[in-house]
């Protein structure tokens, strides 16, 4: 939380990206505390690792200083406080934290926990749900990554190839 607040105050984009990496790593530690070890692996490698590397690559291609903003921060602050107050009011209807009688634990989760060992044969319940019961979701996820990869290649790779012909100054789009 402290690192997240520091992100607001910093001007140096390099420091912002580094703080974001620390924030991701701290949240991965929080996931371990909340028993989500698989999520913690993924967050530590993808969130803290790959995302930070991508952002550093972007900074290398653009600039690493943020210019001082002329806009007043009061309107965004007002919007944020109103939204936050509404969300906190909304949480009062939520089930309490850590209670085994919460509705989330009553639907299909008991089936997965009791039967997946016999039905799938993998001790890790998260893996058997991800790869077998909800296999279509994972297929859709890989489709999203594939589409994003194509998009990135079209945006950056295409620009590289078009660069030599448009390098003269008076060519306008």
């Amino acid at each position: 939380m402290v690192t997240a607040v520091a992100v607001i105050r910093m001007r140096d984009l390099f420091a912002i990206v580094m703080l974001f990496g620390i924030y991701s790593l701290v949240s991965a530690g929080l996931f371990v505390v909340l028993d989500a070890v698989d999520v913690a692996f993924t967050e530590a490698s993808v969130g803290a690792g790959v995302a930070t590397v991508f952002m550093l690559g972007t900074l290398a291609l653009t600039t690493s200083r943020e210019k001082p903003s002329s806009r007043s921060p009061f309107l965004p602050l007002l919007v944020v406080f109103i939204t936050g107050a509404a969300l906190i009011y909304g949480t009062l209807d939520f089930p309490p934290f850590g209670d085994p009688n919460d509705p989330i634990h009553k639907h299909v989760a008991p089936h997965y926990i009791e039967e997946s060992g016999a039905e799938i044969g993998i001790p890790n319940i998260v893996t058997s749900v991800l790869a077998s019961y909800r296999g279509y979701d994972t297929l859709g996820e890989t489709a999203v990554i594939f589409t994003a990869g194509i998009g990135v290649l079209l945006l950056i790779g295409g620009a590289r190839r078009r660069k030599p012909p448009t390098s003269d100054k008076d060519s306008s789009p």
Binding site: L13, E66, V144
Partner: protein
């Protein structure tokens, strides 16, 4: 007092979420906006994972002794969401690189003034 403790995780999530939201709507720099979007996203991950937690539960990996397992379904959802999140982030960063090539800046108000000059 038990109720205050019972909702503490949601309030942490709300504070983090609003921090990310504030960065997204107030920051002028496009990379900083994307960092804010990621902070927002991680707060949603924490919301889901904390909902699945049961006090005294263990990680959902089957063991011989009878134990209480934490709910595995939010973990599966968030694994998918993390990977989709990095896909959208990388696409956004690619757009930032492309905008920098076209306008020579990644500050939002400079891009606005440049595109207004072009349209005149």
């Amino acid at each position: 007092m038990a109720t205050v403790f019972g909702y503490f995780n949601y309030w942490v999530v709300v504070v983090l979420m609003m921090t990310g939201f504030y960065v997204v709507i107030s920051a002028n720099n496009l990379v900083k906006k994307l960092v804010g979007l990621n902070v927002f996203q991680t707060s949603v991950f924490i919301l889901y994972i904390s909902m699945g937690k049961i006090f005294g539960g263990t990680a959902p990996i089957l063991v011989e002794q009878p134990v209480v397992y934490t709910n595995p379904i939010p973990h599966v959802l968030i694994l998918t969401a993390i990977v989709v999140g990095i896909a959208t982030t990388s696409l956004g960063l690619a757009l930032v690189v492309r905008i920098n090539e076209a306008y020579g800046t990644i500050e939002e108000d400079e891009i606005h003034s440049l595109s207004e000059e072009e349209s005149l």
